[in-house]
Point group: C2
Chain length 349, copies 2
C-alpha cells in the first residue's frame, strides 16, 4: 500500500463503505462515528474520523436525502428576468439558507404558464423541501398554481394565495417616511407623482401621502399618475410648474413613485432653473443606487429592504420545513429612508 500524501482530488467520490473498510469497521459503525451517534470507544470514533478526513470523505447528499426525505434544497420561482427587484431578494434568500446547508434552485418562469408548470414539476421531482415564489409586482400572481403542493410555500414580493404566507414591503409606511421627512424639513406644498393606476402600490402610497398631509394640516394635491419613466417625470414637472400661478402656489416638494420618475423630475426642474433642494425637495422610491447616486444632486429615496425581505422569507420557509407551524397572512416589512441631498436639510441644520 502506497501512502498517498496530499488528499489529491479523487476521480471518483469516496464512499462510506471505503472509509469503513479502511478503518477496519462496518459501515454502520462508520456512519455512527461520523454523525456522533451510537456507542463506541472514543479511540474507535477518532480513528474513523481521521480515516474519513484522510480520504476526503463527503457523504452523498442524494443518498441522505432519499432516506431522510429532506433534500436540503428549495426552489425559487421568479418572473422578474431582467428586473432589479429579484436580485437583492434572491441574495437575501440565498444568504439566509446557505448557513443551513440549503441550496436554491433558481427558476425563471417569465409569464409563461407552461414554463411555470415545467419548473414546478422538475422541482417536485427533485424533492425540494419548499418553494419561495417571488415576482416583479406585489399585486400579481405568478403563472403557476402552488396551492395544494404538499410542501411549504412562501411568497415574497408577489401576491400570495389565500391561506398562504407572504412577505411584502410596507409601501404605505415607506411613503409615510418620505412625506414625513418633507414635513420635518418645513416643506408645505408637497406634490406626489407616481406610476400607473393599475398598480396596487400606487394607491397604497397615495393613501399614505394623503394621510400624512392631513395629519399635518397641509394642503393635499391630487397625485399625478402616469408611468414609471423619466419621461413621465419631465411631463409631470411641466404640469406642476409651467402654469402661471405664482411661485408661492407651486410645490416646494415632490414625492415620486420611483427613482426614474424622480430623476426625470430633477432634470426637468434644473432645466427650468428651479433649484433642488433649494427651491424644491425631491424624494424617490426604490433606492436604486445606480440611479439615485447619479442624479444631481444625489437622490433621497425610500428603500424597500428587499434583501432583508428575502432573508425573512428564507428563514420563514426554513422554519416551516422544520415543522414549525405559522399563521397564514401577509407580513409587511418596514422600508427605510436613505437620505441623500435632494430633499434638503433641516431649517436649523
Amino acid at each position: 500500500m502506497v501512502s498517498d500524501a496530499a488528499p489529491a482530488p479523487a476521480k471518483t467520490p469516496v464512499t462510506l463503505r471505503e472509509v469503513a473498510s479502511a478503518a477496519g469497521v462496518s459501515v454502520a459503525t462508520a456512519s455512527k462515528a461520523l454523525n456522533g451517534q451510537g456507542r463506541m470507544t472514543a479511540r474507535t470514533r477518532e480513528r474513523i474520523r481521521e480515516t474519513a478526513q484522510r480520504l476526503g470523505f463527503r457523504p452523498n447528499s442524494l443518498a441522505q436525502s432519499l432516506l431522510r426525505k429532506r433534500s436540503f434544497t428549495v426552489g425559487l420561482l421568479t418572473n422578474d428576468t431582467y428586473g432589479r427587484f429579484s436580485l437583492p431578494l434572491m441574495a437575501g434568500v440565498s444568504d439566509a439558507l446557505v448557513d443551513a446547508g440549503v441550496s436554491v434552485f433558481l427558476c425563471n418562469v417569465e409569464d409563461d404558464q407552461r414554463l411555470g408548470q415545467l419548473h414546478v414539476e422538475a422541482m417536485l421531482d427533485k424533492r425540494v423541501d419548499g418553494i419561495i415564489a417571488t415576482g416583479k409586482r406585489i399585486d400579481r400572481h405568478l403563472p403557476v398554481d402552488l396551492a395544494n403542493l404538499r410542501i411549504p410555500v412562501i411568497y415574497a414580493f408577489t401576491q400570495p394565495d389565500p391561506d398562504a404566507i407572504g412577505f411584502v414591503s410596507d409601501d404605505a409606511g415607506g411613503a409615510r417616511l418620505a412625506v414625513e421627512q418633507f414635513c420635518v424639513l418645513g416643506r408645505r406644498r408637497i406634490a406626489h407623482v407616481s406610476g400607473p393606476a393599475s398598480f396596487a402600490v400606487v394607491h397604497e402610497r397615495a393613501r399614505a401621502y394623503r394621510e400624512v398631509l392631513t395629519e399635518h394640516s397641509l394642503p393635499v394635491a391630487e397625485p399625478l399618475l402616469g408611468h414609471w419613466s423619466e419621461a413621465w417625470g419631465h411631463e409631470a414637472v411641466a404640469r406642476l410648474f409651467d402654469g402661471k400661478a405664482g411661485r408661492g402656489e407651486k410645490p416646494d416638494a415632490v414625492f415620486c413613485g420611483n427613482d426614474q420618475i424622480a430623476r426625470g423630475v430633477i432634470d426637468a426642474l434644473r432645466e427650468r432653473g428651479i433649484g433642488v433642494p433649494g427651491d424644491v425637495g425631491v424624494i424617490g422610491f426604490d433606492n436604486w443606487e445606480i440611479v439615485a447616486e447619479a442624479t444631481r444632486p444625489p437622490l433621497t429615496s425610500v428603500d424597500m429592504n428587499l434583501s432583508a425581505l428575502g432573508r425573512e422569507a428564507g428563514l420563514a420557509l426554513l422554519s416551516l420545513v422544520g415543522g414549525q407551524p405559522a399563521a397564514p397572512g401577509i407580513r409587511k416589512l418596514p422600508c427605510r429612508l436613505v437620505v441623500r441631498q435632494s430633499c434638503g436639510r433641516p431649517p436649523g441644520g
Copy 2:
C-alpha cells in the same frame, strides 16, 4: 376499492412500487414499461402506463440520480449580486437547460472565499453534473478554485482557468461595430470615452477603436479613461468641448465605454447647446435598456448578447456532461449594435 376520480394531490408521492402493485406486476416490469425498456406485450405496457398516469406517478429524481450518477442539476456560481450582467446571463443558462430537464442551483459567492468554498462543497455533495462560473468582470477570477473538480466546468463572462472552456463577449468586435457605424454615417472626428484602465475590456475596446480609425484614415484621438459613471461622462465632455478650438476641430462623435458614461455625455452636450445627433453622434456600450431608452435622444448602444452567451455556456456544459469532448480555450461571441437615435442617420437617409 373506491375509484378516485380526479387525481387529487396525494399527500405523499406515489412510488413505482405502488404503481406496480396496482397494475399487478413487479416493480421491474413497471420500470421497464414506463421507460420503454425490456420486452413485454403491448397490452401490459399500456396497462402499466395507464395505471401510472391515473395514480399521478412521478419518478423520484433522487433515487434515479443515485443510481445513474447523474443528477440533472448544475450549479451556477456568480459574484455579481446586484449587477445587471448576471441576470440575462442566468436567464440564458436556465433557458438552455430547462428543456433538458436540468435545474440550476444559484450560488452567490460575493467575493468571499469562504462562501465560495461553502457553495462549491454543497454543490459537489449534491452531485451536480457540472458548474458554470460567471462574474461581473471578464478579466477577474471568482474567489474559488474549480481546477481539479472531476466534473465539467464552464466559464462565462469571467476569467477562465487555463485549460478550461470560457465564453466571453467579443468586446473588440463590439467596439468595431460602433466605430464603423460612425464612419458609415460620415463622422470624421470620433472620440472615445471609457472606464478605468484597470479593466481589460477598456484596452481591448480602445485597440479596436484605434484600428478602425486607422483603417479609415481618420485621426486617432487618445481615449479618455476615467470611470463607469455619468459624472465622468460630464467631465469628459468638458475636456473635449470646452477648449477654445473651433467647432471644426472638436469631435463630431463620441464612442462611450458604457451607457452611463454615454448618458452623462449626452446630458452634458445638451447643456452646452450641442445637438445630438445633429452636431455630435453618441454610441454607448452594454445596451442597458432602461438607461438607453431614457436618454434624450434614445441611445444607440452595443449589446453583448449576454443571454445568448448564457445559452451557449449552458449548451456547452450539457454536451460536456454528456461526454462529448471539447477543446479548452476562450470562445468570443459577437456583440450586436442596437441602433436608436443618438448616432444619427445616414447622410442620404
